[in-house]
């Protein structure tokens, strides 16, 4: 589709949606949001890019093949369950690292956040694989060679 309005709008909307998705990912542990919903918002931004500028630009935005992103996400999510073993706690126990940034500001990092990042990447990779397959169907043979 070639539409000047859509392309101009996408240039403004897509980056904002990506930022919103990161915000949702970050706040998701105790408030509405999280990796899944954040990933979907990010995917919407990428899909918008694909509709406005064509599937090739969507691939450029993603840098890696969507399959690689999804696979990395699954691995990160699975790995987030494992540090609990080192602490002698059961599978998937949440561990927290509170970084003191000075001036009373604390940056909490945790394995649940790592899990959410894994989910975020899996959703982006998985849904983008589907979208790419639908958008690029005739040229299906030369996709997924990036891995």
């Amino acid at each position: 589709m070639s539409s000047l309005i859509l392309r101009a709008g996408t240039r403004i909307l897509a980056p904002m949606m990506i930022m919103l998705s990161l915000f949702l990912l970050w706040r998701g542990h105790n408030l509405p949001g999280g990796g899944f919903i954040g990933g979907l918002v990010a995917t919407s931004a990428i899909a918008l890019q694909g509709i406005a500028f064509g599937p090739a630009s969507m691939r450029r935005t993603l840098v890696f093949s969507p399959a690689v992103i999804a696979g990395a996400g699954v691995l990160i999510a699975a790995l987030s369950a494992l540090p609990a073993a080192l602490a002698g706690l059961p599978f998937f126990t949440g561990l927290w690292l509170k970084l003191d940034l000075g001036n009373g500001a604390v940056l909490p990092l945790s394995t649940p956040l790592l899990f959410d990042i894994g989910v975020y990447l899996t959703v982006i990779g998985g849904v983008c694989t589907l979208i790419a397959a639908l958008e690029e169907e005739p040229a299906l043979d030369d996709v997924e060679t990036g891995g």
Binding site: S65, A67, V68, A70, G71, A72, G73, V74, L75, A77, A78, A81, L82, A84, A85, G88, L89, P90, F91, F92, T93, G94, E144, T145, G146, G147
Partner: protein, 500 residues
């Protein structure tokens, strides 16, 4: 603690395999090896888990360190551990076979990652200690199996897969309704907590209704009479390695869920639930075997036999005696190995002769006599010939039925066994004995089948013989699993009385 991590690794390994094979999607050889490595690693981990369970008793894992009725509980008793090992064996065998079968197009259609997601769903269902999580694992299985069924992308496959998914979604909906009812009645979905709360539920009618709904949902997954029609419509279409996993494992997850539900959760009204199960078992056996007699395509015949065999497993559960449950557990183990193997052999036979359709093939006895031997073992084990594994499984079940005077179900079991021989003889006579309709050279020698296909077949056939000849240790494990099933109190104590 350590044992809990072992249970966790049964789930972590397939997740890691899924991620790794997805990352390696662009490097075919690496993906194949990673996939194979993952399946054998799963086998090692699950065997270790079984050893620990048999040595130290039930393994309970409260993931995230949240205490029992509130968190996500995994509770592994002997039955769960045995089933996990069998699932891993089937997975390893079929993925090995798959190396010889799948081409580049199938690999690109995500065969390897989907296979590991399927194994993840199956293992999760066997380990979970929570009704809602069981639902989630069922969904994981369903999604992966839908992808796997359509891996070849042919019209027949998509047709089969749509029927499969549509009917399974109906079962899923019934499952969810039952879950909602049970939650409303007991206020919990943890298996142990439900089992503890059921005696105190005042609305017995609604409880039985929920149990029956759950029976229908699991029954559909297990393909029992009269809810089996999706199975013969779908199982003959996918790749051989895929249909072998399905034939071996998927319906058996339904049987496992039935066993779990009607030994641990709902034993409050056996006059209704277990009598119903017994009728279902008898009718499933007979309709399955009669359906098989009418078919002329190898995988269709074998698919109908899955249904008939499910009847035996449900029969042991319905009898609800120690011997009956021993029979069910023994049958599950024997059946998964034998049935997956028969599908793999059918795949090799079709590769050597060009078709699964019995009318169009033949001459295998002359061209590939060893395939005849390999077929003979699981086929006659399925029919219950001594000294193969199926004989002991059937013997235990028939004895269990006679012990409590259920003559008709024992008779149904024996007649079904007899008719099974008829179908197996049909495959033997058509595919092996009669000459190939297209001339002698149309049946190829066994050497033309890839070694990776013959290795898992030989290994599974050897397993069948070993279970048959050295039945005692397997019987002891089945007995232990059955006795644990008949003792819900210790399950409840293990889960709710603090994790190990």
């Amino acid at each position: 603690m350590m044992a809990g991590w072992l249970a966790a690794f049964v789930l972590v390994v397939p997740i890691l395999s899924t991620g790794a094979t997805t990352l390696a999607h662009g490097v075919p050889r690496l993906q194949g090896w990673l996939s194979l490595l993952g399946s054998y690693l799963l086998l090692v981990v699950s065997v270790a888990l079984l050893v620990v369970v048999l040595r130290d008793g039930m393994v309970v894992l409260q993931s995230g360190n949240w205490a029992a009725p509130f968190g996500i509980t995994f509770a592994v008793d002997s039955l769960g551990a045995v089933m996990t090992v069998i699932a891993a064996i089937t997975g390893a065998a079929c993925l090995t076979f798959g190396l010889g079968e799948i081409g580049e197009a199938e690999r690109r259609a995500w065969f390897h990652p989907l296979s590991h997601v399927l194994l993840l769903g199956v293992c999760g269902a066997f380990l979970t200690g929570d009704l809602f999580n069981l639902y989630v694992w069922f969904e994981v299985m369903l999604i992966a199996s839908f992808g796997l069924m359509t891996v070849g992308g042919t019209k027949a496959q998509i047709d089969g897969a749509v029927k499969y998914v549509a009917l399974n979604l109906v079962a899923t909906l019934m499952f969810l309704l039952a879950v909602a009812l049970i939650y409303g009645l007991t206020g919990t979905l943890n298996f142990a907590d439900i089992a503890r709360s059921v005696p105190a539920v005042s609305n017995r009618g609604l409880l039985t209704a929920a149990a029956t709904l759950l029976m229908a949902a699991f029954g559909m997954k297990a393909a029992v009479f009269p809810l089996f029609f999706w199975l013969p419509a779908a199982y003959h279409t996918p790749l051989v390695s895929v249909s072998a996993v399905f034939a071996g494992l998927l319906t058996k997850v339904g049987v496992y869920a039935l066993i779990r539900a009607f030994t641990l959760l709902f034993t409050h009204d056996p006059g209704w639930t277990h009598t119903l199960l017994l009728w279902i078992a008898g009718l499933t056996m007979v309709t399955g075997v009669l359906g098989a007699a009418a078919q002329t395509e190898m995988r269709r015949i074998l698919s109908w036999h899955i249904i008939s065999q499910i009847g035996y497993m449900v029969m042991g559960l319905a009898l609800a005696t120690p011997l009956g449950l021993i029979g069910s557990v023994f049958y599950l183990v024997h059946h998964i190995i034998v049935k997956a193997n028969l599908f793999l052999i059918a795949g090799v036979a079709a590769r050597l002769t060009g078709s699964m359709e019995l009318k169009r093939i033949g001459g295998l006895y002359r061209s590939a006599p060893w395939l005849g031997v390999l077929f003979f073992i699981p086929a006659f084990s399925l029919a219950g010939f001594p000294p193969l594994s199926g004989f002991w499984a059937k013997l235990v079940l028939v004895r269990a039925a006679l012990e409590i005077g259920s003559w008709w179900i024992a008779a149904a079991a024996l007649v079904t066994g007899l008719l099974t021989i008829y179908s197996m003889t049909k495959i033997w006579a058509e595919a092996f004995w009669k000459p190939h309709p297209a001339g002698e050279s149309a049946a190829r020698p066994l050497g033309e089948a890839p070694t990776v296909m013959l290795l898992p077949i030989s290994a599974l056939a050897a397993g069948t013989v070993v279970i048959g000849l050295f039945a005692q240790p397997f019987y002891v494990v089945a007995e232990r699993a059955a006795l644990e099933l008949l003792d819900p109190a210790s399950y409840i104590a293990a889960v709710l009385g603090g994790a190990r």
